[in-house]
Symmetry: C2
Subunit: 243 residues, 2 copies
Protein backbone atom coordinates (compact mmCIF):
# COMPACT_ATOMS: atom_id res chain seq x y z
CA UNK A 1 0.00 0.00 0.00
CA UNK A 2 1.53 3.28 -1.16
CA UNK A 3 0.17 6.62 -0.12
CA UNK A 4 0.21 8.96 -3.12
CA UNK A 5 -1.27 12.14 -1.66
CA UNK A 6 -2.23 13.55 1.69
CA UNK A 7 -4.35 16.50 2.74
CA UNK A 8 -5.80 17.75 5.99
CA UNK A 9 -9.49 18.69 5.51
CA UNK A 10 -11.01 21.69 7.27
CA UNK A 11 -12.57 19.51 9.97
CA UNK A 12 -9.16 18.05 10.78
CA UNK A 13 -9.77 14.75 8.99
CA UNK A 14 -6.68 13.37 7.25
CA UNK A 15 -7.48 12.26 3.69
CA UNK A 16 -4.90 10.08 1.96
CA UNK A 17 -5.05 8.56 -1.50
CA UNK A 18 -3.28 5.28 -1.93
CA UNK A 19 -2.70 2.50 -4.40
CA UNK A 20 -2.62 -1.15 -3.54
CA UNK A 21 -1.67 -3.60 -6.32
CA UNK A 22 -2.47 -0.78 -8.78
CA UNK A 23 -5.94 -0.31 -7.31
CA UNK A 24 -6.58 3.29 -6.27
CA UNK A 25 -8.19 3.98 -2.91
CA UNK A 26 -8.80 6.67 -0.31
CA UNK A 27 -8.37 6.55 3.45
CA UNK A 28 -9.86 9.06 5.86
CA UNK A 29 -8.78 9.09 9.52
CA UNK A 30 -10.13 11.25 12.35
CA UNK A 31 -8.18 14.40 13.17
CA UNK A 32 -7.71 13.55 16.80
CA UNK A 33 -7.53 9.88 17.65
CA UNK A 34 -5.91 8.68 20.85
CA UNK A 35 -6.45 4.96 20.17
CA UNK A 36 -6.53 2.95 16.93
CA UNK A 37 -9.82 3.77 15.22
CA UNK A 38 -12.48 1.26 14.18
CA UNK A 39 -12.84 1.10 10.41
CA UNK A 40 -15.72 1.46 7.99
CA UNK A 41 -15.26 0.17 4.44
CA UNK A 42 -17.27 2.47 2.17
CA UNK A 43 -18.95 0.57 -0.64
CA UNK A 44 -20.04 2.37 -3.83
CA UNK A 45 -21.15 1.50 -7.38
CA UNK A 46 -17.77 2.24 -8.99
CA UNK A 47 -16.10 5.41 -10.21
CA UNK A 48 -14.15 7.02 -7.36
CA UNK A 49 -13.88 10.45 -9.03
CA UNK A 50 -17.59 10.73 -9.69
CA UNK A 51 -18.47 9.30 -6.27
CA UNK A 52 -15.89 11.38 -4.39
CA UNK A 53 -18.21 14.10 -3.01
CA UNK A 54 -20.65 11.59 -1.52
CA UNK A 55 -17.93 9.24 -0.27
CA UNK A 56 -16.01 12.08 1.36
CA UNK A 57 -19.18 13.36 3.04
CA UNK A 58 -19.89 9.90 4.46
CA UNK A 59 -16.27 9.49 5.54
CA UNK A 60 -16.20 12.86 7.33
CA UNK A 61 -19.47 12.03 9.06
CA UNK A 62 -17.91 8.75 10.20
CA UNK A 63 -14.66 10.42 11.24
CA UNK A 64 -16.63 12.81 13.44
CA UNK A 65 -17.80 9.72 15.34
CA UNK A 66 -14.24 8.45 15.68
CA UNK A 67 -14.18 6.04 12.74
CA UNK A 68 -11.58 5.63 10.05
CA UNK A 69 -13.14 5.11 6.62
CA UNK A 70 -11.66 3.72 3.44
CA UNK A 71 -12.70 2.83 -0.06
CA UNK A 72 -11.13 1.34 -3.18
CA UNK A 73 -12.02 1.54 -6.86
CA UNK A 74 -14.08 -1.32 -8.25
CA UNK A 75 -12.74 -3.58 -11.01
CA UNK A 76 -13.56 -2.13 -14.41
CA UNK A 77 -14.52 1.31 -13.07
CA UNK A 78 -12.83 4.71 -12.92
CA UNK A 79 -9.26 4.57 -14.16
CA UNK A 80 -9.04 0.78 -13.92
CA UNK A 81 -8.92 -1.45 -17.02
CA UNK A 82 -12.29 -2.30 -18.53
CA UNK A 83 -13.46 -5.88 -18.86
CA UNK A 84 -15.02 -6.75 -22.20
CA UNK A 85 -17.53 -9.08 -20.54
CA UNK A 86 -18.64 -6.43 -18.05
CA UNK A 87 -18.86 -3.73 -20.73
CA UNK A 88 -21.05 -5.96 -22.87
CA UNK A 89 -23.28 -6.72 -19.87
CA UNK A 90 -23.58 -2.99 -19.08
CA UNK A 91 -24.54 -2.28 -22.67
CA UNK A 92 -27.16 -5.02 -22.59
CA UNK A 93 -28.47 -3.73 -19.26
CA UNK A 94 -28.75 -0.18 -20.56
CA UNK A 95 -30.52 -1.40 -23.67
CA UNK A 96 -33.06 -3.35 -21.61
CA UNK A 97 -33.69 -0.39 -19.30
CA UNK A 98 -34.07 2.04 -22.18
CA UNK A 99 -36.48 -0.30 -23.92
CA UNK A 100 -38.47 -0.57 -20.69
CA UNK A 101 -37.92 -4.32 -20.68
CA UNK A 102 -37.42 -6.41 -17.56
CA UNK A 103 -33.74 -7.03 -16.87
CA UNK A 104 -33.09 -10.74 -17.31
CA UNK A 105 -31.34 -12.84 -14.68
CA UNK A 106 -28.82 -13.72 -17.35
CA UNK A 107 -27.73 -10.09 -17.81
CA UNK A 108 -27.57 -9.52 -14.04
CA UNK A 109 -25.44 -12.65 -13.62
CA UNK A 110 -23.03 -11.55 -16.35
CA UNK A 111 -22.79 -8.07 -14.87
CA UNK A 112 -22.57 -8.76 -11.15
CA UNK A 113 -21.14 -12.23 -10.52
CA UNK A 114 -17.69 -11.57 -12.08
CA UNK A 115 -17.61 -8.23 -10.29
CA UNK A 116 -18.22 -9.93 -6.92
CA UNK A 117 -15.60 -12.60 -7.67
CA UNK A 118 -12.98 -9.97 -8.44
CA UNK A 119 -13.89 -7.18 -6.03
CA UNK A 120 -14.24 -9.18 -2.81
CA UNK A 121 -10.61 -10.43 -2.67
CA UNK A 122 -9.52 -6.87 -3.43
CA UNK A 123 -11.52 -5.52 -0.51
CA UNK A 124 -9.96 -8.22 1.66
CA UNK A 125 -6.45 -7.28 0.52
CA UNK A 126 -7.25 -3.64 1.29
CA UNK A 127 -8.50 -4.71 4.72
CA UNK A 128 -5.21 -6.53 5.39
CA UNK A 129 -3.23 -3.44 4.47
CA UNK A 130 -5.47 -1.02 6.37
CA UNK A 131 -5.48 -3.09 9.56
CA UNK A 132 -1.68 -3.15 9.48
CA UNK A 133 -1.62 0.65 9.94
CA UNK A 134 -1.07 1.65 13.57
CA UNK A 135 -3.83 4.27 13.46
CA UNK A 136 -6.48 1.66 12.54
CA UNK A 137 -7.70 -1.03 14.88
CA UNK A 138 -11.03 -2.69 14.62
CA UNK A 139 -13.78 -3.70 14.61
CA UNK A 140 -14.64 -3.32 10.94
CA UNK A 141 -17.96 -2.51 9.27
CA UNK A 142 -19.00 -2.38 5.61
CA UNK A 143 -21.34 0.34 4.47
CA UNK A 144 -22.71 1.08 1.06
CA UNK A 145 -23.57 -0.06 -2.35
CA UNK A 146 -23.29 -2.97 -4.64
CA UNK A 147 -25.43 -5.15 -2.45
CA UNK A 148 -23.94 -8.37 -3.87
CA UNK A 149 -20.41 -7.34 -2.85
CA UNK A 150 -21.65 -6.53 0.66
CA UNK A 151 -23.37 -9.90 0.92
CA UNK A 152 -20.32 -11.87 -0.18
CA UNK A 153 -18.02 -9.89 2.12
CA UNK A 154 -20.38 -10.44 5.04
CA UNK A 155 -20.26 -14.19 4.39
CA UNK A 156 -16.54 -14.73 3.71
CA UNK A 157 -14.81 -12.04 5.78
CA UNK A 158 -15.02 -12.74 9.52
CA UNK A 159 -13.34 -9.44 10.39
CA UNK A 160 -16.46 -7.55 9.22
CA UNK A 161 -18.81 -7.47 12.18
CA UNK A 162 -21.72 -5.32 10.95
CA UNK A 163 -22.92 -3.99 7.61
CA UNK A 164 -25.10 -1.25 6.20
CA UNK A 165 -26.36 -2.48 2.83
CA UNK A 166 -27.96 -0.25 0.24
CA UNK A 167 -30.73 -1.97 -1.71
CA UNK A 168 -30.25 -0.23 -4.98
CA UNK A 169 -28.45 -2.54 -7.34
CA UNK A 170 -29.19 -5.77 -9.10
CA UNK A 171 -28.63 -8.94 -7.11
CA UNK A 172 -28.07 -12.23 -8.93
CA UNK A 173 -30.56 -14.92 -7.97
CA UNK A 174 -27.72 -17.10 -6.68
CA UNK A 175 -26.91 -14.47 -4.04
CA UNK A 176 -30.27 -15.06 -2.29
CA UNK A 177 -28.92 -18.39 -1.10
CA UNK A 178 -25.76 -16.66 0.06
CA UNK A 179 -27.86 -14.08 1.90
CA UNK A 180 -29.16 -16.86 4.15
CA UNK A 181 -25.60 -17.46 5.32
CA UNK A 182 -25.15 -13.89 6.52
CA UNK A 183 -25.25 -13.76 10.32
CA UNK A 184 -23.78 -10.36 11.23
CA UNK A 185 -26.10 -7.49 12.24
CA UNK A 186 -27.47 -5.77 9.14
CA UNK A 187 -29.01 -2.39 8.49
CA UNK A 188 -30.61 -2.27 5.04
CA UNK A 189 -31.52 0.99 3.33
CA UNK A 190 -34.26 0.89 0.70
CA UNK A 191 -35.27 3.91 -1.35
CA UNK A 192 -38.97 3.24 -1.92
CA UNK A 193 -39.13 5.01 -5.30
CA UNK A 194 -35.78 3.87 -6.66
CA UNK A 195 -36.36 3.72 -10.43
CA UNK A 196 -33.61 1.22 -11.11
CA UNK A 197 -34.40 -1.06 -8.21
CA UNK A 198 -36.90 -3.89 -7.89
CA UNK A 199 -38.63 -3.16 -4.59
CA UNK A 200 -40.08 -6.63 -4.18
CA UNK A 201 -36.69 -8.24 -4.80
CA UNK A 202 -35.20 -5.98 -2.13
CA UNK A 203 -37.89 -7.04 0.35
CA UNK A 204 -37.38 -10.70 -0.54
CA UNK A 205 -33.65 -10.30 -0.02
CA UNK A 206 -34.19 -8.66 3.37
CA UNK A 207 -36.38 -11.62 4.28
CA UNK A 208 -33.67 -14.05 3.19
CA UNK A 209 -30.82 -12.67 5.32
CA UNK A 210 -29.92 -15.11 8.08
CA UNK A 211 -28.93 -12.42 10.60
CA UNK A 212 -30.70 -12.39 13.95
CA UNK A 213 -30.53 -8.63 14.00
CA UNK A 214 -31.58 -7.07 10.74
CA UNK A 215 -33.39 -3.80 10.18
CA UNK A 216 -34.91 -2.38 7.02
CA UNK A 217 -35.21 1.39 6.72
CA UNK A 218 -37.37 2.35 3.77
CA UNK A 219 -37.70 5.99 2.80
CA UNK A 220 -39.41 7.91 0.05
CA UNK A 221 -37.31 9.10 -2.84
CA UNK A 222 -35.08 7.84 -5.61
CA UNK A 223 -31.73 6.13 -5.58
CA UNK A 224 -29.64 9.13 -4.56
CA UNK A 225 -32.30 10.67 -2.34
CA UNK A 226 -31.44 9.00 0.97
CA UNK A 227 -32.61 11.56 3.55
CA UNK A 228 -30.14 13.00 6.04
CA UNK A 229 -31.94 11.36 8.98
CA UNK A 230 -31.60 7.94 7.31
CA UNK A 231 -27.87 8.46 6.94
CA UNK A 232 -27.74 9.43 10.61
CA UNK A 233 -29.63 6.27 11.58
CA UNK A 234 -27.21 4.11 9.59
CA UNK A 235 -24.29 5.82 11.34
CA UNK A 236 -25.94 5.14 14.72
CA UNK A 237 -26.25 1.48 13.78
CA UNK A 238 -22.51 1.26 13.05
CA UNK A 239 -21.64 3.12 16.22
CA UNK A 240 -23.80 0.72 18.22
CA UNK A 241 -22.05 -2.33 16.78
CA UNK A 242 -18.47 -1.17 16.26
CA UNK A 243 -17.69 0.95 19.30
CA UNK B 1 -61.28 16.18 32.96
CA UNK B 2 -60.92 15.06 36.57
CA UNK B 3 -57.65 13.88 38.00
CA UNK B 4 -58.26 10.87 40.23
CA UNK B 5 -54.76 10.01 41.41
CA UNK B 6 -51.31 11.46 41.31
CA UNK B 7 -47.86 10.03 41.94
CA UNK B 8 -44.32 11.18 41.40
CA UNK B 9 -42.25 8.39 39.79
CA UNK B 10 -38.63 7.78 40.75
CA UNK B 11 -37.34 9.64 37.70
CA UNK B 12 -39.34 12.72 38.70
CA UNK B 13 -42.10 12.16 36.13
CA UNK B 14 -45.57 13.12 37.39
CA UNK B 15 -48.12 10.40 36.62
CA UNK B 16 -51.78 11.33 36.95
CA UNK B 17 -54.81 9.20 36.27
CA UNK B 18 -57.87 11.02 35.05
CA UNK B 19 -61.36 10.48 33.73
CA UNK B 20 -62.95 12.44 30.94
CA UNK B 21 -66.61 11.75 30.19
CA UNK B 22 -66.19 8.50 32.15
CA UNK B 23 -63.25 7.44 30.01
CA UNK B 24 -60.16 6.60 32.09
CA UNK B 25 -56.81 7.95 31.03
CA UNK B 26 -53.28 8.59 32.23
CA UNK B 27 -51.11 11.67 31.82
CA UNK B 28 -47.36 11.75 32.34
CA UNK B 29 -45.51 15.07 32.50
CA UNK B 30 -41.76 15.66 32.78
CA UNK B 31 -40.39 16.30 36.25
CA UNK B 32 -38.76 19.55 35.35
CA UNK B 33 -40.41 21.56 32.61
CA UNK B 34 -39.81 25.26 32.27
CA UNK B 35 -42.12 25.77 29.28
CA UNK B 36 -45.35 24.00 28.25
CA UNK B 37 -44.35 20.56 26.98
CA UNK B 38 -45.14 19.13 23.55
CA UNK B 39 -47.50 16.18 23.78
CA UNK B 40 -47.43 12.59 22.55
CA UNK B 41 -50.69 10.67 22.45
CA UNK B 42 -49.84 7.05 23.20
CA UNK B 43 -51.93 4.65 21.14
CA UNK B 44 -52.41 1.05 22.25
CA UNK B 45 -54.66 -1.93 21.46
CA UNK B 46 -56.97 -1.45 24.45
CA UNK B 47 -56.78 -2.49 28.09
CA UNK B 48 -54.96 0.17 30.11
CA UNK B 49 -54.24 -2.10 33.07
CA UNK B 50 -52.65 -4.80 30.97
CA UNK B 51 -50.81 -2.27 28.81
CA UNK B 52 -49.67 -0.11 31.74
CA UNK B 53 -46.06 -1.36 32.02
CA UNK B 54 -45.33 -0.79 28.35
CA UNK B 55 -47.20 2.52 28.19
CA UNK B 56 -45.47 3.84 31.30
CA UNK B 57 -42.07 2.84 29.91
CA UNK B 58 -42.80 4.68 26.65
CA UNK B 59 -44.13 7.70 28.55
CA UNK B 60 -41.08 7.90 30.81
CA UNK B 61 -38.80 7.61 27.78
CA UNK B 62 -40.71 10.49 26.19
CA UNK B 63 -40.68 12.53 29.39
CA UNK B 64 -36.90 12.21 29.53
CA UNK B 65 -36.86 14.03 26.16
CA UNK B 66 -39.14 16.76 27.49
CA UNK B 67 -42.46 15.43 26.21
CA UNK B 68 -45.75 15.06 28.03
CA UNK B 69 -47.49 11.80 27.15
CA UNK B 70 -51.10 10.76 27.58
CA UNK B 71 -53.37 7.87 26.80
CA UNK B 72 -57.03 6.96 27.20
CA UNK B 73 -58.85 3.66 27.36
CA UNK B 74 -60.39 2.44 24.09
CA UNK B 75 -64.14 1.93 23.72
CA UNK B 76 -65.11 -1.59 24.81
CA UNK B 77 -61.79 -2.31 26.52
CA UNK B 78 -60.56 -2.41 30.12
CA UNK B 79 -63.26 -1.24 32.54
CA UNK B 80 -65.38 0.37 29.84
CA UNK B 81 -68.73 -1.10 28.76
CA UNK B 82 -68.50 -3.86 26.16
CA UNK B 83 -70.19 -3.54 22.78
CA UNK B 84 -72.09 -6.63 21.65
CA UNK B 85 -71.09 -6.02 18.03
CA UNK B 86 -67.41 -5.72 18.87
CA UNK B 87 -67.47 -8.75 21.16
CA UNK B 88 -69.04 -10.83 18.40
CA UNK B 89 -66.44 -9.61 15.93
CA UNK B 90 -63.64 -10.47 18.37
CA UNK B 91 -65.07 -13.94 18.84
CA UNK B 92 -65.28 -14.44 15.08
CA UNK B 93 -61.72 -13.16 14.67
CA UNK B 94 -60.38 -15.50 17.34
CA UNK B 95 -62.23 -18.41 15.77
CA UNK B 96 -60.75 -17.66 12.33
CA UNK B 97 -57.22 -17.33 13.74
CA UNK B 98 -57.50 -20.54 15.77
CA UNK B 99 -58.76 -22.40 12.73
CA UNK B 100 -55.84 -21.03 10.71
CA UNK B 101 -58.29 -19.43 8.30
CA UNK B 102 -57.71 -16.10 6.58
CA UNK B 103 -59.45 -13.26 8.41
CA UNK B 104 -62.18 -11.94 6.14
CA UNK B 105 -62.55 -8.25 5.32
CA UNK B 106 -66.04 -8.49 6.72
CA UNK B 107 -64.80 -9.46 10.20
CA UNK B 108 -62.12 -6.77 10.14
CA UNK B 109 -64.69 -4.14 9.13
CA UNK B 110 -67.05 -5.19 11.94
CA UNK B 111 -64.21 -5.15 14.45
CA UNK B 112 -62.31 -2.02 13.50
CA UNK B 113 -64.60 0.47 11.75
CA UNK B 114 -66.95 1.06 14.73
CA UNK B 115 -63.91 1.28 16.99
CA UNK B 116 -62.40 4.02 14.81
CA UNK B 117 -65.72 5.89 14.65
CA UNK B 118 -66.01 5.91 18.42
CA UNK B 119 -62.39 6.21 19.52
CA UNK B 120 -61.28 9.09 17.31
CA UNK B 121 -63.70 11.70 18.71
CA UNK B 122 -62.71 10.54 22.19
CA UNK B 123 -59.03 11.10 21.43
CA UNK B 124 -59.95 14.54 20.10
CA UNK B 125 -61.91 15.36 23.27
CA UNK B 126 -58.93 14.23 25.32
CA UNK B 127 -56.69 16.43 23.19
CA UNK B 128 -58.93 19.44 23.87
CA UNK B 129 -58.75 18.81 27.60
CA UNK B 130 -55.01 18.11 27.64
CA UNK B 131 -54.11 21.20 25.60
CA UNK B 132 -56.11 23.35 28.03
CA UNK B 133 -53.66 22.41 30.82
CA UNK B 134 -50.99 25.07 31.37
CA UNK B 135 -48.18 22.49 31.52
CA UNK B 136 -48.96 21.20 28.02
CA UNK B 137 -48.38 23.18 24.87
CA UNK B 138 -47.85 21.67 21.48
CA UNK B 139 -47.05 20.42 18.95
CA UNK B 140 -48.78 17.06 19.24
CA UNK B 141 -47.76 13.64 17.95
CA UNK B 142 -49.53 10.30 17.94
CA UNK B 143 -47.55 7.17 18.62
CA UNK B 144 -48.65 3.59 18.80
CA UNK B 145 -51.10 0.98 17.92
CA UNK B 146 -54.41 0.42 16.32
CA UNK B 147 -53.15 1.57 12.95
CA UNK B 148 -56.67 2.47 11.75
CA UNK B 149 -57.17 4.91 14.66
CA UNK B 150 -53.83 6.53 13.93
CA UNK B 151 -54.71 6.90 10.24
CA UNK B 152 -58.09 8.50 10.94
CA UNK B 153 -56.59 10.84 13.55
CA UNK B 154 -53.84 11.85 11.14
CA UNK B 155 -56.48 12.73 8.54
CA UNK B 156 -59.07 14.54 10.66
CA UNK B 157 -57.06 16.14 13.47
CA UNK B 158 -54.92 19.04 12.23
CA UNK B 159 -53.29 19.51 15.64
CA UNK B 160 -51.42 16.21 15.18
CA UNK B 161 -48.28 17.03 13.25
CA UNK B 162 -46.39 13.72 13.16
CA UNK B 163 -47.19 10.08 13.89
CA UNK B 164 -45.45 6.84 14.73
CA UNK B 165 -47.71 4.04 13.52
CA UNK B 166 -47.32 0.43 14.53
CA UNK B 167 -48.19 -2.00 11.75
CA UNK B 168 -49.56 -4.75 13.88
CA UNK B 169 -53.32 -4.68 13.70
CA UNK B 170 -55.95 -5.32 11.08
CA UNK B 171 -56.75 -2.42 8.78
CA UNK B 172 -60.10 -2.32 6.99
CA UNK B 173 -59.78 -2.09 3.21
CA UNK B 174 -61.60 1.25 3.24
CA UNK B 175 -58.79 2.77 5.32
CA UNK B 176 -56.32 2.34 2.44
CA UNK B 177 -58.12 5.15 0.63
CA UNK B 178 -57.96 7.22 3.79
CA UNK B 179 -54.23 6.50 4.06
CA UNK B 180 -53.70 8.38 0.80
CA UNK B 181 -55.07 11.50 2.50
CA UNK B 182 -52.46 11.41 5.25
CA UNK B 183 -49.88 14.14 4.68
CA UNK B 184 -48.07 14.48 8.03
CA UNK B 185 -44.62 12.92 8.49
CA UNK B 186 -44.95 9.23 9.36
CA UNK B 187 -42.67 6.70 10.98
CA UNK B 188 -44.04 3.17 10.56
CA UNK B 189 -42.82 0.26 12.65
CA UNK B 190 -43.22 -3.22 11.21
CA UNK B 191 -42.31 -6.37 13.10
CA UNK B 192 -41.23 -8.67 10.30
CA UNK B 193 -42.34 -11.89 12.03
CA UNK B 194 -45.55 -10.60 13.60
CA UNK B 195 -47.78 -13.68 13.68
CA UNK B 196 -51.04 -11.74 13.70
CA UNK B 197 -50.07 -9.26 11.06
CA UNK B 198 -50.24 -9.47 7.27
CA UNK B 199 -46.80 -8.26 6.18
CA UNK B 200 -47.80 -7.59 2.59
CA UNK B 201 -50.82 -5.56 3.70
CA UNK B 202 -48.55 -3.50 5.94
CA UNK B 203 -46.19 -2.82 3.00
CA UNK B 204 -49.12 -1.91 0.75
CA UNK B 205 -50.42 0.45 3.39
CA UNK B 206 -47.00 2.09 3.74
CA UNK B 207 -47.01 2.55 -0.02
CA UNK B 208 -50.47 4.13 0.11
CA UNK B 209 -49.71 6.86 2.65
CA UNK B 210 -49.77 10.28 1.00
CA UNK B 211 -47.08 11.77 3.23
CA UNK B 212 -44.01 13.25 1.56
CA UNK B 213 -41.90 12.09 4.48
CA UNK B 214 -42.59 8.52 5.47
CA UNK B 215 -40.17 5.94 6.80
CA UNK B 216 -40.65 2.24 7.37
CA UNK B 217 -38.55 0.54 10.02
CA UNK B 218 -38.84 -3.23 9.78
CA UNK B 219 -37.20 -5.39 12.43
CA UNK B 220 -37.06 -9.07 13.17
CA UNK B 221 -39.30 -10.43 15.85
CA UNK B 222 -42.93 -10.79 16.81
CA UNK B 223 -45.58 -8.26 17.74
CA UNK B 224 -44.21 -7.33 21.16
CA UNK B 225 -40.56 -7.75 20.21
CA UNK B 226 -39.80 -4.21 19.02
CA UNK B 227 -36.08 -3.83 19.77
CA UNK B 228 -34.86 -1.06 22.05
CA UNK B 229 -33.00 0.64 19.20
CA UNK B 230 -36.21 0.77 17.14
CA UNK B 231 -38.02 2.47 20.01
CA UNK B 232 -35.15 4.93 20.25
CA UNK B 233 -35.38 5.66 16.51
CA UNK B 234 -39.12 6.32 16.80
CA UNK B 235 -38.45 8.69 19.69
CA UNK B 236 -35.84 10.50 17.60
CA UNK B 237 -38.39 10.89 14.81
CA UNK B 238 -40.86 12.55 17.21
CA UNK B 239 -38.16 14.77 18.66
CA UNK B 240 -37.17 15.85 15.15
CA UNK B 241 -40.72 16.83 14.26
CA UNK B 242 -42.19 18.09 17.52
CA UNK B 243 -39.39 20.05 19.14
Amino acid sequence: MQFTSEQRLDDGVLEREFTLNEIPGILWTPGSASAPAPLILLGHPGGLHKMYPRLAARARHSAAQGFAAATIELPGSGDRPRSAVAEQARTDLRRALEAGEPVSNEIVDRLVLPLVEKAVPEWQAALNALLSLPEIGGPVGYSGGVMAIGIRLAVVEPRISAAVLFAGSFVPAAMFEEARQVTIPLHVLLQWDDEGNDRQAALDLFDAFGSKEKTLHANLGGHTGVPQFAGDAAAQFLTRHLK
